[in-house]
């Protein structure tokens, strides 16, 4: 579909006409998923109540640490918590009560209103991989990521039909000083895509820069009244909230921007080895974090996050797409829904070094659990490789294609008269076939989801064409998407102001790789 659009553009007239057409026409992106299917609930109500009771005991008796953050301690004290040193003990019921001002659902606006997303309730918004210092592709192998790589991922994300969100640190542009990366990354999201994006969390001042860049892009008033970023605030599990992440949270919440409060847990290391124990700690951490966001600004949008995986007890390596991770995802989703909060988990998670069968089995397990487990915001939904150390170009397009499966699954099953197809069954009768019947003719175009990547050809054709595996097909697709890419239009005045802002910020700060 995107190809057809690109071809149409290429036929357009020159100059002003082409610019006008570019403004009008856009690469196709599916609307975020709205589930028309039931969710899967693995835990009994009794188990959920046990976990909730125990989480309150953790908050009251053990407490959580807010590290190097006197302001946070003061806020907690004022709210009624018992503060000793950096330890905050939260009386039973207080955190849950504070969480009640957080909205059940919110809109994250994109600069193209058609790409704005609703996060919460029945929705599932898909965003790409976040955080890898390395990239990999067939041609160049595994290497440190650069800003060029980053831009290429943003372009691929823009061109990916089933991807709703441009993400955040799709890979780390390691060739840019650490204290300036956020400027280049945000500028790329804002200019190479028109999908919604995430802000920086590596320092409160960088979060502030992101807010200011959004004020240029969306207008200052718009940003104060509306959510235009959803940023990832990790809890330093177990039970620790560090000053960098909390500082970023404070900036975003104060500006009404959304935060995912997300324990980052390798089970057996940062949480107990048991699913129930891990869920208990996750709930305690999320409640403390979200309660704190509401102390900053009641009503600030937040997401109940759970990034939990298991560990290979022989080597200590984190493992992905495992059954325990799926169980935790399902359980965390139930806990989030009982709090009436949007839920973040899942992704295209895998431990494999290559976009091979292991990567795909593990990814599919996590994709499926995310769909049926009620995830509203799926970070890492495409491109994740090697336990998150690597962003893979080929896996990006492989996973992004698979997100189409989730869209079709989520649409559910229609049982109206047309779907019952009794006329077709009568028409064909015993021993006939349906290929030419009226019902098939009327519905075949939309009846079955179709990949844009996988091989469905007869063996002989496939063999003659080079017997290509999925990775090889994906490499070709990456190339094609990048070559078809056309930048979405942006008001030149805004573009100029953004470039000026980034140039000024870069000039006034010495480089730092810390």
């Amino acid at each position: 579909m995107a190809e057809a659009v690109a071809r149409k553009r290429a036929r357009g007239g020159g100059g002003a006409a082409r610019r006008a057409e570019r403004t009008a026409v856009s690469i196709e992106t599916a609307k975020y998923i709205e589930r028309n299917i039931p969710l899967y609930e693995i835990l009994t109500d009794e188990a959920l109540e046990t976990i909730e009771t125990n989480a309150e005991i953790i908050l009251e008796e053990i407490g959580v640490n807010f590290v190097e953050n006197p302001g946070a301690l003061e806020r907690w004290r004022a709210a009624g918590a018992e503060v000793t040193g950096e330890r905050v003990r939260i009386p039973r019921g207080l955190a849950r009560e504070l969480c009640k001002t957080a909205p059940a659902s919110f809109t994250q606006h994109a600069r193209n209103p058609e790409r704005s997303v609703e996060i919460g309730g029945k929705t599932l918004v898909c965003a790409p991989v976040y955080g890898p210092p390395f990239v990999r592709d067939t041609e160049g192998g595994r290497r440190y990521a650069t800003l060029e790589d980053f831009k290429k991922f943003v372009k691929l994300g823009y061109m990916s039909k089933w991807l709703h969100h441009s993400g955040g640190t799709v890979c780390e542009p390691t060739d840019v000083p650490v204290n300036k990366r956020h400027l280049d990354m945000l500028l790329a999201h804002m200019t190479y895509s028109d999908k919604p994006f995430m802000g920086s969390v590596t320092d409160p001042s960088r979060a502030q820069d992101c807010v200011e860049m959004c004020e240029i892009l969306f207008g200052k008033d718009f940003v104060q009244d509306n959510t235009v970023m959803t940023s990832l605030i990790n809890v330093n599990s177990p039970l620790t909230f560090d000053e960098v992440m909390m500082g970023a949270l404070e900036v975003y919440a104060a500006n009404n921007q959304a935060c995912i409060i997300s324990p980052f847990i390798v089970g057996g290391a940062m949480a107990p080895v048991s699913v129930t124990g891990t869920l208990t700690q996750v709930l305690a951490e999320v409640m403390a974090g979200i309660a704190y966001s509401q102390l900053i600004r009641p009503g600030a949008p937040v997401i109940f996050g759970a990034f939990v995986t298991s560990i290979d007890m022989n080597s200590g390596a984190p493992t992905f797409g495992t059954p325990e991770a799926s169980q935790i995802l399902y359980g965390a989703g139930q806990l989030a829904r009982r709090m009436g909060l949007p839920f973040r988990s899942g992704g295209g998670l895998c431990g494999s070094k290559l976009p091979d069968a292991q990567a795909a089995y593990e990814t599919a397990h996590t994709h499926n659990a995310a769909l049926l487990g009620g995830v509203n915001f799926m970070l890492h939904s495409c491109g994740w490789l090697e336990g998150g150390l690597v962003a893979s170009f080929e896996k990006f397009v492989m996973d992004a294609d698979q997100l189409g499966v989730l869209h079709k699954m989520a649409a559910g099953v229609t049982a109206d008269e047309e779907a019952q197809a009794m006329d077709a069954i009568r028409e064909v009768g015993p021993g006939g076939h349906y290929l030419g019947c009226a019902h098939t003719q009327a519905h075949f175009k939309s009846a079955f989801w179709k990949t844009d990547l996988f091989d469905y050809k007869p063996f002989e054709t496939w063999d003659e064409e080079g017997a290509r595996d999925t990775q090889t097909l994906a490499a070709r697709r990456v190339e094609k998407m990048v070559s078809d890419y056309q930048q979405p239009a942006l008001d030149p005045a805004i573009l100029g102001a953004l470039n000026d802002y980034v140039a000024r910020k870069k000039a006034e700060t010495p480089d730092s790789f810390m």
Copy 2:
């Protein structure tokens, strides 16, 4: 684990001692899955009732064809159906009533009683791929399957911890005449494995041979009173029951052997393009088939089968692991449970030509749907490639490893005091880690499922060891399993009698490749 057992055997004494040890020790096989988790139900009660009503209309008004089978027509007429030519119209409610004598669950006995399986209720029994004329591996590429390939698959199945069943036509031994293959296949299942197996359905006389071989293996009386085979009876959709399959069904049902009554449907070709329409036809076909089995012998064990996939409307190629196939699986499972019958569907289905990422994504979708959709007997659970045209040695061990994921998922989540892990959370506290705590030490061995195949190594180690992908690791594992294989002991008198039976049958029949 299997390796440890094999090594232990290799250390044993000579002659009689070794034979005794072989009888006592066996390669480890997990017990069939008993789900301790809820099922996923995609259809509303209202939709299910609509489908059930429409299926009765199909049976009553359109009817089904029993082709070249006067005995079947006579049985139907006697049971109260309206028979015109080969068309059988079944009055509303009659088929469902007849199905009521079929058991909700049955035991299929293996010659090793520890390997017997229960099919129905909460169980999931995994059996390998069935039917491919070709095999593939990295070394030899794609080629016609031989009896040697068949035997190798039976050995791999015997050595696969998470595989409960030896299957049937794991691949077609194309170097053996068609009319003698069943003898060699059954002999291989009986002698190279001690897991349960399937009988031949390609001709009623061959089904009879299978019964007679089972009488040699298990004893004549035992076979009459117990189920020792589960065989695959495909419906020739739409709405047609051919004489070969029905002839085999008649032999098996009369002998109290289990049959899977399974419409084989490529949606849009053999059934309507809509999920609801397809489910309606599936239900009508299964009800007619199972009702017929109960006319042969009330109480004969049967399985509600649904092998349904979608089609690529551009090329006409069947496609696998698609969202529509998952929806149909979930819906068919609900229909089967409402009839109180065991359910067969799912598998490691895929359309890919290679055991690559496409194969794994598609397989994982189907595996997951089978687990959550309530499948009791999962044929094709490992080894399926290229739309079922190819049995892949590497994919066999890849999928068989993944069946372990389903076992762990199915075990569910424990929420007792030990699993709550509150002592561990208190012990570790904010900022600590769980690797050394008492709870972790007590549980780490069983806490997380672990692959026997995938790569969890650090990047550097993996790279030094040759940067192997899943297929390469799988090829190595196939080799190792075959080299570790040790044949399970069998009473020499029985072995002799089986060999004699096969030799006699082969000698008295001229070769035929039809």
